[in-house]
Amino acid sequence: MNYHSPASFAEASRIAADASGITRFLAGGTDVLVQLRADIVTPDTLIDIKKIPGTGEITRNADGSWTLGVAVPGAELGEHTGLVADWPGVVEAMNLVGSTQVQGRATLTGNLCNGSPAADSVPAMVAASMTATVTGPDGNRIVAVQYIPTGPGKTSLAKGELVSALHIPARGENAGDAYLRFIPRSEMDIAVVGCAVNLRLDGDTVVEARVSLGAVAPTVLLVEDAAAAIIGSTLDDAALDRLASAASAACKPINDKRGTIEFRTEVAGVLAKRVARIAYARAKGEIIKGHHG
């Protein structure tokens, strides 16, 4: 195994492009090192990106948008009051990952690029319309995070490509986001269903919405029917029921040790309602702390 710690993304990309066999980037390492120790994946090339300048920074841009370094751990997101105020859903989703110890290392980028359908932060990132800068042998491109994971353990990144920054749009007025997951225990578990909602209000009426589901299909889902079910409503019971039905209808889950098709489909609808209510309340200016369960 060869270990590299390049000083720039261009160099990281070059090393990856030239490497043969299995390549892994080392962000927090909470997936990479666990897989290595469990004899699941032993990379031939390990490229540590944490030494690249700027990877640990959280930046609020002049237009109100945010740029996140690819090595920022969950704990730092959670301690950033400005970010928490703007995007509590994205932050609470990342903060659900693992334990205090894991939070000190684990990153949004790693969660995204590990390609797990159950990754907690990914539905929240998708609902928030986040994008990533991808650096490759031919330079940089910007891509919606939704299009990065393509299936369990797979991404759309080509050989030599890596994520060099994450971007969150400006929050704007009267808007809120939220994420909830279902796990049988209270923490240290993997999502059986995850759901994120991001919405904007005009008065009491929802005028924009994005609803995203995790762990119910091979990739994260952006459910347009579910968003449509609440746009134009005041999130009344009828709208919530339509939301739940649309969320359940979008599920393409599997039966496995973590949950049944029936259960995941049902609970996706239940969570969608609960998450929408939190996002709505936040859009109204209520402070609702992140849930750890």
């Binding site: 049988p184 225990r185 923490e187 040790k257 609970v267």
Partner: protein, 753 residues
């Protein structure tokens, strides 16, 4: 000299809560656990395991692994003794263990060991395993207990059934137990209501935090040293010697500190393999299991399928009870069906009772003991039916249990008459507890259950030596799995009359003390405690003799009080009290070193009962359960160190919560274990548990000098049932299958409409 044989009050030390002697070592990381041992020239072992649930091993080619320069030895079954006889049932237990630690002709479950390697590093050993070629012929498999009893089920092994199994049963049924008394048919006829139901529980793992680990040395001279994490090193010594074909006394086994066992470390898994590797490589070999190996190849408890029928009169009197219990214990005899059957109705005084147990083999790992093996599942089934009877007849669940409770003199469902027991006292304490009358919130339900365990005595040796300065060292042979060193020191302090801190208790190795049965059966505070008291009394007798000699009075005119010899009877007041340290100071000149010892197999362990109260909350939209309040009430006989008694109570409840709600062995269609990591084997995390409240009831056990009853196991007997009753009340549907995972609860709610 007069020594009271039974002391139940006015204790000076017993019942206090000093710090445990191993506490500092454990919180500073100084304590040495199984994997903390190193030896010069040490190699690292790794075990190749079958990926198949059931397969004939046609060929094992180890040549490529052996050719690696880092590899120093490869072993297969051929490297173990060929003199271990195969016999039916548990008669052939050494053969069963041998077959389990290294497969013979067939791999019997996913994870079964088929070969092992010793190499210069753990990584090299792991990689060498990948070069071993095994050719398998895959056979049909069965992992479900009911399916394993069907006529067309694959046969795990012919000839494993013992004499108890009636003709015509499937060869996978290897033992049958039947007991009871009265006439159940007549009893059911007398009942106003009979409830009959079917229940299942899944296999769960003890989940101890420390994976099995050992360091083994076995020389060409047949002499060996073994350091390992175990609940009992004499059984390790005896078993390993048999499996390796050496003499027992030539193998010295030392028990490390232990990170939990709960019954799962009462046998061997990797130790004989490490010894075989060491013998072949002629170097020390260290072997440490991964968590996945622990799940796949150590001993979870059995899964169960149970039918219960109970008849009750309108006034709550139970008229008859009957149960059939089928337990699968993996690919070997030993599933605790007999215990399940015997414990099932033990809390109740019944005129008509019958219980039948079947021990069934499947393609799963060989089960091992897990805290009161067999009893928790029985209580789950029986106490669920009693709850249902109470609900349907509109009766109070505590009053019904009190009405039918076993008491002193009751003929137990499994045969003997109970001596002094404390079930009624635990029920009375439950009745008086504020928990029972606290209001419930919407969506919450309350459940109660009783539970029973036999407790055990077992072979025990203890040695106690006094030092010149008047301090004492106590050598016991039962690994300390729950704070027992503190309890031994308290009991020795009580007898000797010297401070707790002046007594050091050590777990002796197999070469320095006589035989000791393992730390199981809730026996340690009872049996090693009894032996410690008797060893201390033995030393006191000698101390009194020295004083008598010094004073020139008869020895029976000397008594021992508060750490001093004092003249008594006609000589009372003739001499000043003589403190222990004054006698030991010159003991070399007055007759030699003073020690006490005791060896026996004490038989008066004293059964134990508990009553648990649980409040649970169910989210009707997701089926998720939260245990919001939990109270354990249990008879401890006498709590020597109450903190560790409470710890046992809480630990049993915590493990019971896991077993009831989310823990389970999940097998795929291919017979492979799907969830061999803690991520997917859902043991409760700290935030899943409420504070577990405890009440210690003390009804002295006449079989122990201070009245002790074991407490380690009974605490896991009531939780499954108490939680199931609470969840069923909260959800409004009877939950008959464990674990009560959210998908299961949600589908029960849907089916209920």
């Amino acid at each position: 000299m007069a020594l009271d044989d039974l002391k139940t009050k006015d204790f000076a030390f017993v019942g206090t809560r000093p710090n445990r002697p191993d506490g500092l070592d454990k919180v500073t990381g100084r304590a040495k656990f199984g994997a903390d041992a190193y030896a010069p020239g040490m190699l690292h072992g790794a075990i190749l395991r079958s990926p198949h649930a059931h397969a004939r091993i046609l060929r094992i080619d180890t040549s490529k692994a052996e050719a690696l320069k880092d590899v120093k030895a490869v072993v297969t079954r051929a490297d173990f003794s060929d003199k271990v006889p195969f016999e039916p049932g548990l008669e052939g237990e050494f053969w069963n263990v041998l077959e389990n630690v290294m497969a013979g002709d067939k791999a019997l479950y996913d994870g079964h060991a088929v070969a092992a390697v010793a190499a210069t590093s753990a990584l090299a050993a792991r990689d060498a395993l990948k070069l071993i070629e095994v050719e398998y012929e895959i056979l049909p498999h069965v992992t479900d207990v009911d399916k394993a009893m069907l006529a067309d089920a694959p046969v795990i092994r012919e000839g494993a059934a013992d004499y108890s199994v009636p003709e015509g049963m499937h060869p996978n049924v290897v033992r049958m137990h039947e007991s009871g008394h009265g006439d159940v048919a007549a009893g059911f006829a007398e009942a106003d209501l009979v409830v009959e139901d079917h229940f299942t529980t899944e296999a769960t793992h003890q989940g101890y935090i420390e994976p099995h680990a050992c360091l083994a040395t076995l020389g060409m001279d047949g002499k060996g040293e073994l350091w390992c994490c175990t609940q009992g090193h004499w059984i390790v010594q005896k078993t390993c010697a048999a499996l390796l074909g050496i003499e027992t006394a030539n193998l010295r086994v030392t028990a490390s500190e232990i990170g939990g066992g709960f019954g799962g470390k009462t046998t061997v898994f990797i130790e004989p393999v490490a010894l075989a590797l060491s013998r072949k490589a002629n170097k020390p070999v260290k072997l440490v299991m991964s968590r996945s190996e622990v799940f796949r190849a150590t001993g979870p408890t059995a899964s169960a399928s149970m039918d219960i029928k109970i008849g009750m009169k309108k006034d709550g009197t139970i008229t008859a009870a009957e149960g059939i219990f089928r337990l699968q214990g993996g690919a070997f005899p030993g599933g605790p069906a007999e215990f399940t059957a015997m414990c099932a109705f033990a809390p109740y005084s019944l005129s008509n009772v019958r219980q039948v147990g079947y021990d069934v083999m499947t393609n799963r790992p060989k089960q091992a003991a897990y805290r009161a093996p067999g009893s928790p599942m029985a209580a789950f089934a029986v106490e669920s039916v009693i709850d249902e009877l109470c609900n349907q007849l509109g009766l109070d669940p505590i009053e019904v249990r009190l009405k039918n409770a076993s008491r002193e003199g009751t003929k137990a469902s499994y045969g003997p008459r109970f001596q002094q027991i404390g079930l009624v006292q635990t029920l009375e304490a439950a009745k008086a507890h504020p928990h029972l009358s606290a209001p419930l919130k919407p969506g919450q339900g309350r459940g109660i259950s009783c539970g029973f365990w036999f407790n055990h005595g077992g072979e025990t040796s203890v040695s106690l030596a006094l030092s010149e300065d008047g301090s004492a060292q106590v050598m016991v042979g039962t690994p300390d799995i729950g704070g027992s060193r503190a309890s031994m020191a308290l009991m020795a302090a009580e007898v000797l009359g010297i401070p707790y801190d002046n007594i050091r208790v050590t777990i002796a190795d197999t070469a320095t003390l006589g035989y000791n049965d393992v730390s199981h059966g809730s026996r340690v505070t009872y049996a090693s405690g009894l032996a410690t008291i008797k060893a201390a009394r033995h030393a006191v007798e000698k101390l009194c003799e020295r004083a008598a000699k010094k004073w020139g009075i008869p020895v029976d005119a000397v008594k021992w009080e508060n750490g001093c010899a004092v003249p008594s009877g006609p000589n009372a007041g003739d001499f000043d009290p003589l403190p222990l340290a004054d006698i030991t100071a010159n003991m070399g000149q007055t007759g030699g070193p003073i020690s006490g010892h005791f060896e026996a197999t004490p038989e008066g362990a004293g059964v134990s009962f508990a009553t648990h109260i649980v409040d649970a909350e169910v989210d009707p939209e997701t089926g998720k359960t939260r245990v919001v309040r939990y109270t354990v009430i249990q008879d401890a006989g006498k709590a020597i160190h109450p903190t560790y008694v409470e710890g046992q109570f809480q630990g049993g409840a915590a493990q019971g919560i896991g077993w009831a709600l989310n823990e389970e062995y999940i097998y795929g269609e291919d017979g492979r274990l799907q969830n061999s990591v803690f991520l997917d084997y859902r043991i409760p995390v700290a935030s899943d548990l409420p504070m577990i409240d405890t009440v210690i009831v003390e009804v002295p056990n006449p079989g122990h000098p201070f009245g002790v009853r074991g407490v380690g196991e009974t605490s896991i007997c009531p939780p499954l049932a108490a939680i199931a009753n609470a969840v069923s009340a909260a959800a409004g549907v009877r939950m008959r299958n464990l674990p009560m995972s959210p998908p299961r609860i949600l589908s029960a709610l849907k089916a209920d409409g």
